[in-house]
């Protein structure tokens, strides 16, 4: 089992490739790997409650850990209360910690 941290910077409303990115994350999760996601930049937009993105919401339904970068949220005036359930808050330090733990950190 490998540890993956995906840094999701692209948003599904302007980048059609994100569907495939979310599919890949889901497939790795289903295969039993330790997969988590950090949303940054416009990648935080599907985290807003009411945003309709099936491929992203499936990851939440499956229990894939999803974090959102607080700086990116603040830039877009998205409050904690605006987020869908099961999305945590984080700084970018989680990336450094994952790299130090020899995780596979992948930029999307």
């Amino acid at each position: 089992m490998s540890q993956y941290l995906f840094i999701q910077s692209q948003d599904p409303f302007t980048e059609s490739r994100t569907r495939h990115q979310f599919d890949l994350i889901g497939q790795l999760h289903e295969a039993g790997h330790d997969v988590s996601v950090l949303l940054v930049q416009n990648g935080v937009t599907p985290a807003r409650r009411g945003a309709r993105t099936g491929s992203f919401d499936r990851l939440l339904d499956w229990g894939v850990p999803v974090l959102a970068d607080t700086f990116s949220l603040e830039q877009r005036e998205i409050d904690d209360a605006d987020l869908k359930d099961n999305i945590g808050l984080s700084s970018l330090h989680v990336v450094i910690d994952a790299m130090l733990a020899n995780g596979k950190v992948i930029w999307h």
Binding site: S9, Q10, R17, V40, Q41, N42, F71, S91, L92, H93, V95, I96, D97, M99, L100, N102, G103, V105, W107
Partner: protein, 137 residues
């Protein structure tokens, strides 16, 4: 020799174009917060991040002069990270891809940043605890 507390970052985004540049610098800053040594291999447009002749400018539309505008320059951010690394006694190395530098004519770089090529990225990645590549898309 392996460096268990050193991380390598490969980055290709030019300055002043994308939010990725901000996130990249924030990642370097976060690494230094963890007292981790940082090595950067800059290629393609990212070689201009350390261009010494970057100049701030005013904003005539908003009636602000250069000082009031306080336009951020990436060369200053790199210098700030160099200083932070020195204060925390961790390494901070930066190599620009020489071919990419020549293509863009940005040979005049700030102190502490070197010139190299893909073998340096290989060396950086081989020696480091881990490597993150940030693509343009």
């Amino acid at each position: 020799m392996s460096h268990p507390r050193t991380l390598t970052f490969a980055f290709m985004e030019p300055p002043f174009e994308s939010e990725r540049t901000i996130t990249f610098f924030r990642l370097l800053d976060a690494a230094l917060d963890r007292d981790v040594g940082v090595r950067v291999f800059a290629y393609e447009g990212a070689v201009a991040l350390t261009f010494a002749r970057q100049q701030p400018h005013g904003n005539a539309v908003h009636g602000r002069d250069s000082a009031e505008e306080a336009h951020p320059l990436t060369k200053d951010w790199v210098q700030a990270l160099q200083e932070k690394a020195r204060a925390r006694t961790v390494g901070f190395e930066w190599i620009n891809c020489g071919l990419c530098v020549d293509e863009r004519g940005v040979n005049d770089v700030i102190e502490g940043c070197g010139r190299g090529g893909p073998p340096d990225l290989w060396r950086y990645a081989t020696d480091a605890r881990n490597t993150l590549t940030i693509g343009t898309r």
